[in-house]
Symmetry: C2
């Protein structure tokens, strides 16, 4: 029999309703594309969301309707998150950094009916518009009377405006429609380096559960005492869920808009007394550079969340030792809403010295409750949680993708999602990403991490960029090939580099060959295209047992 | 359309599976009825839960089966919570402080099939057993070979033993049965002062969502760095959910067993380095007394949770100012799993001085996300959230009762649950309990809090105990009657007391009459029986406009 508790669904709109009731005077501060700082409260946000929902309803946006957005982190984008979810419609965030053809493909695949965009993206919208006849309305996230508005209206006939749409609507509380908590509320496409992008359809349930887990003390530890700045874009897996978790706990929200340079981020952080900020490693490298060159210090920042790709030990050390900002290393993916693992210490780590703690922090962390991770060997057996044995990383949980938009399978037959990563998990539950499954080098039944080899080689003063790929080997199946770009004016020979590496990695990890090139191929989002390299170096095959291989196994 | 995330149900057993994977070496420490301290890890707990589930399965405990417990806070009780939930069965905690007739009624109503009990309760079980022929097995939570076990076996034929039941079972991981997350996992009866007790049936879903909300930074803020000691009994609304929230976050769990005296609690707290403990005000008054008389200080305790009834400003002040232990005042009820409101500060309160902060802390607090509170006037209109206007307190949310066991309506037609309390809510969302709905005095369209009058009168040095009830009044509908018990050897006249009160409460709150009695009637759980007083003083009717009433309105 079922328990006899109330059947109250988990709904995204209730997050903002909660903030409106309990934190009505807490601010949402946005740097706008207009250049200025806009500030209002959760109570204001909720009123405008009620207005926007009425406007969307008037435009015929009903249950399941896709509302596309091409926008920075800002209050109007936040309003779209909630107005769509409240209506049972779908906020579909498009990544403006993709190529026009990719965006066209994605907007068509999602069947976006309306497209909201920041004025910054007017040129992109002009390109997209003829390709997307299915989009019924194009809406500029601004007002008609501004210079930006007039310019845009001149270029796009029938253009609508966010501010003018809502201006005429009642701001009174709305009786939000009822639906199951499994109702879709958002959609986001993966930008895989191969194949078509795949759409992940978040539900009200998955989004709310993810927010609970993300706010826990051993996750991001979010409370009404926090001021949260998501530097990670709202078009990048919903800014890691922060636009949901912040209203859940009543934290002040600071949205940096298009100004993602280190100076602007630092200034906003100081002006708004940010306590926690989140972004990819590149952002934080830029901020560290800025702090070094300006001699500036943080006044309020307590912790930063680093995800998207691995944070280096050097970054972690500099933030913690020099700036007294705690680094929360996390791992996730579009398919996991995104948070899958978060690195926070346990009491058992109190005895570690600073170096050991920083090394531990390079791991991606442990599961928040709700996520289950496991690793399996190539033969599908569970790999031991010994922190040493790498395995294919599988995850499951209520905020992990089951099926992609269009019906393409996400989870495997056994109910687990294959992340495409290879990882270790230690006996305390800390997971460390070793490599991508397709990039790891399978040498004689053991795995060599291309990423670890690359990270090690990057420590050599002559190396500017480096890639390691596996090439076929008669005896060992695959062996590593290292491809290097030298720093201008620097020199190192393959033999010298190999010998330098020999002091830093296991002998059987040493590349069988080292090549030098002028540059390495990158995709639209800046990711290294190892698939291109595998084509380029298809001619290299290791059919001899090389000297370094004698020590294998 | 539905989102395309995995359909993974929220299950109670997964809380312990999570702790087993991520916190296998974290301890659960119990003071046993055997008198000693038992310690094991979450990994041990999980292994024994697998064994216990196999044993229960062998005894024919299937889906929906009621397993009663009469037990203190301890590891075996914890194992029953999880083994039952994992099987889709129901852990039904019985309150041994109730009268035998009440327990008989409740166990029959729940249809308990098996009854587990701590050796302490053998005399009670001997009384209950002839009354409960439906109970197929009686199980002592200990082992057959102990002195306790032999004694009990001599008295109860066919007695089973927790330790002997599980000893023969495999400890390997179990493939737990699949069921919907709405599946019942626990049952607890309210001990109302009037009418039959009512059963609340918690579901896997409600229990897990409640644990998320309880662990949030602005709730109890639980993490793997904590050591949690629920002093509140596991038979009292599941020890406020701590046996679920602790494994969710990997906190060490300290279970104080039957030794609830201040000295034992203090000793356990110090020995196990407890960081957070939870209990009713009486417990904390005892602890404060002990600290005062012994001059002892806390070494590790950071915060205490006070709920069940209101914490006084004096208690809050002494814990915070003298002992540097932060008080988290909370409000809940059996029908709300129990947490409905928690008092944590916001940044807006940083400017308050210590006195103002302590006064604010006497409020019961604000909603964790998931709970909605509202107050309504006698005519059913929403009362303003001004911190002044009292109203009938209504709550709703996924861990609030919808229907009681047996089909009795819990929620109203409009989907809200009437708590039976009168409360105010301020503009920051902080709720303060004013009175019970049935005890508040409805005087000329305004409400007078019997509790506040009682608390004020308790400040008079001659008063030992006091009750205020409403009596009919020709013009004002109801007016307060105060009934006092004097301290031995003390004297105060009705006129003197009225004049003393007149300096402390609004004139129109002053009782129309003050009576003196030798003692006041109490129920089995120690609650004041105002219903009895209303019968006893039925002859008192205020049919004259009294002098103090001239100032009304």
């Amino acid at each position: 029999m079922t328990g006899t508790m109330m059947k109250v669904p988990l709904r995204v709109i209730d997050l903002l309703r909660h903030a409106n009731r309990n934190h009505p005077r807490v601010e949402v501060v946005s740097r706008r594309v207009e250049g200025d700082i806009q500030r209002y409260t959760y109570a204001d946000a909720y009123r405008r969301v009620c207005q926007l929902a009425r406007a969307l309803d008037r435009l015929g946006v009903g249950k399941d309707a896709r509302v596309g957005t091409i926008a920075w982190n800002g209050y109007r984008h936040l309003e779209l998150y909630y107005a769509c979810a409240g209506l049972g419609a779908v906020c579909h965030t498009l990544n403006p950094r993709l190529l026009t053809e990719q965006l066209t493909w994605i907007a068509r695949h999602a069947a976006d009916e309306i497209l909201f965009f920041d004025a910054t993206f007017l040129p992109l919208v002009e390109e997209l518009r003829p390709q997307l006849p299915g989009v019924r309305h194009w809406v500029l996230m601004g007002d008609q009377e501004s210079t930006m508005g007039r310019d845009a209206a001149a270029k796009i006939t029938g253009l609508l405006f966010h501010e003018n749409l809502i201006a005429g609507e009642l701001a009174d509380d709305l009786e939000w429609p009822n639906f199951e908590e499994s109702q879709i509320c958002g959609q986001c496409y993966t930008s895989g380096t191969t194949g078509d992008p795949k759409g992940v359809c978040y539900s009200n349930r998955s989004t709310v559960l993810h927010a609970y887990a993300a706010a826990l003390p051993d996750s991001l530890g979010l409370s009404a005492r926090d001021t949260v700045m998501p530097v990670v874009p709202m078009f990048h897996v919903n800014a890691w869920g922060l636009p949901y978790a912040a209203p859940m706990v009543g934290a002040k929200l600071v949205l940096p808009g298009p100004a993602l340079d280190a100076q602007s981020l630092y200034d906003l952080c100081e002006a708004e007394r940010v306590t926690i900020a989140a972004g990819v490693p590149t952002i934080w490298l830029g901020v560290l550079d800025h702090l070094r060159s300006s001699g500036a210090a943080f006044g309020s920042l307590e912790r930063i969340v680093i995800g998207g790709s691995a944070a280096s030990e050097a970054t972690i050390r500099e933030f913690e030792s020099v700036h007294r900002v705690r680094v929360i290393h996390a791992w996730g993916m579009t398919e996991a809403s995104p948070v899958g693992a978060i690195n926070q210490f346990k009491p058992v780590h109190d005895a570690l010295d600073a170096d050991a703690r920083h090394r531990l922090q390079t791991k991606q962390g442990r599961e928040p409750f709700g996520i289950e991770m496991r690793i399996e060997t190539e033969s599908g057996e569970p790999a031991p949680r010994d922190g040493l044995t790498p395995g294919r990383l599988l995850v499951r949980g209520p905020w992990v993708v089951g099926t992609y938009a269009g019906g393409l399978d996400g989870e495997r037959d056994d109910g687990w999602f294959d992340t495409g990563d290879v990882a270790t998990i230690d006996s305390e539950g800390y997971m460390a990403i070793v490599d991508r499954t397709k990039d790891v080098i399978k040498s004689g039944g053991e795995w060599i991490s291309s990423i670890e080899l690359e990270n090690t080689a990057m420590g050599h003063p002559a190396i500017q960029e480096v890639a390691v790929i596996g090439r076929p080997h008669q005896k060992w199946i695959e062996r590593p090939l290292m491809i290097c770009v030298l720093r201008p004016g620097q020199q190192v020979s393959a033999t010298e580099l190999s010998s330098w590496l020999g002091e830093r990695v296991a002998r059987w990890w040493l590349p069988d060959a080292i090549e030098f090139v002028d540059n390495l191929p990158h995709g639209a989002t800046g990711k290294l295209l190892k698939s291109r390299l595998r084509e380029q170096f298809a001619h290299i095959r290791f059919d001899q047992v090389s000297s370094c291989m004698e020590s294998h196994s």
